[in-house]
């Protein structure tokens, strides 16, 4: 119970950090810094797909609402991440983890697999975010460069966020 409460508080804190990032950390038009995908990845596996999608929608909407961005953009990009969360986790960590509703752990699941999952989640999020943000007006090379830069920088932040959200590794 305490773990769940801690996770909830941590989740809300990270959402606030994301709002601050959106408002004050716009270094370049080529860079989209987001910790939202990894927050969805780290949701406990006892949370089903529908609640995960609703959480993703609410989180995305809250970030959109309280930051200077377009309302609906983060929500639009984050819901698909939540929708494919379990299949992707099953792909990287196996069916056992899903069936046992076990927690993610760097120690048990390995840094490589978690990194791959983070990159995949982040790639899905960014692909939708950059496409919708560009609205077909920006050249392909720009979107590609934006995707590459954002994926690389987002991965680094996401690893830090994951290590704070995954409960086993804090002990």
């Amino acid at each position: 119970m305490k773990t769940a409460q801690n996770f909830g508080l941590m989740y809300m804190l990270l959402a606030i950090i994301q709002i601050l990032i959106c408002n004050y950390c716009q270094f370049s038009p080529l860079l989209v810094l987001s910790v939202l995908p990894v927050m969805i990845l780290c949701l406990p596996l006892s949370v089903g797909t529908i609640p995960a999608m609703l959480i993703a929608f609410a989180t995305g909407l809250a970030v959109d609402w309280l930051s200077e961005g377009l309302l609906g953009l983060n929500a639009l990009s984050l819901v698909p991440v939540a929708a494919v969360r379990k299949p992707i986790m099953q792909l990287f960590f196996g069916k056992d983890l899903i069936d046992r509703k076990d927690s993610l752990s760097f120690r048990k699941n390995g840094f490589g697999k978690i990194s791959a999952a983070i990159l995949t989640f982040h790639a899905i999020f960014l692909a939708i975010y950059i496409t919708a943000d560009g609205a077909g007006m920006r050249p392909f090379w720009f979107n590609l460069a934006r995707f590459g830069i954002s994926e690389a920088s987002g991965y680094l932040i996401s690893v830090i966020v994951a290590s704070s959200l995954i409960p086993d590794d804090k002990k």
Binding site: I50, M53, G60, G72, V79, A132, A135, M137
Partner: protein
Amino acid sequence: MFRKGNIIIFIVNAAIFILLEVAAFVMLRNNGQMQDIWISRGVHSFMANVWGCTENIRHYFSLKKENDALAERIYRQEQTIRKYREITGKDFAEDSIPETVGNFRYIPASVAKTGRNSQHNYLIISKGSKDGIVKMSGIITEKGVLGIIDAVGKNYSYGRSFRNSDMTISARIGHEGAVGAISWDGLSSNGAILREVPQHILLHAGDTVYTSGFSSIFPPDIPLGIIGEYKVENGATYEIKVELFEDFSSIRYVTVVNNVSTEEISELENR
């Protein structure tokens, strides 16, 4: 193997996913001008594909009827050519059919979609600017007038249907009779009202109404329908019910016609 429970869960997940994404799209559309254009373009493109598919399916199942109608039309046109050949003594080579006859250019087209459930009906024609369609061209068949092109895209054109409460066409009773203005009656699929025909004109139920050719949009002598009941309106002119030849509910092939002298006529009018 999917179990029944899994399928239901999958459907519910998919439904909620679609619902949330649609909500996000709506918000995005309302908040970003670029996104609004992008989403609208995507939606229109999707709708055009859906229309195309459904119309193709519908047309496939009406092919026999279409073929019979086309065969009948070809027969009648061949007979007309034979008649002209006999009168003029000239041969009409089939490989030299001109697109322009007189002042009018004729472009064959097919109907991609028709709106026929309101007072403001429309037609989407599967030819656009790249095929030479221009704004304010007429849409006709051999059985009558269908509408006027209002907007032209690259591949498709949007036409206002004759079945619009505010559309009026100049019409003539017989080939040389009185001229009036014909418009849709707003009720039936093949009913129209011919107005502004002077009271002294002798009318006969069953007479054919043709386009007058007084507008620069439609060529003269396209049969429109036959006269039905009539009454005197305002004590001066007739209000004549016309039963149209064209059945608007089963239009497939049309001809787009545009007056090649429109610019010259407009210039003269503006002097």
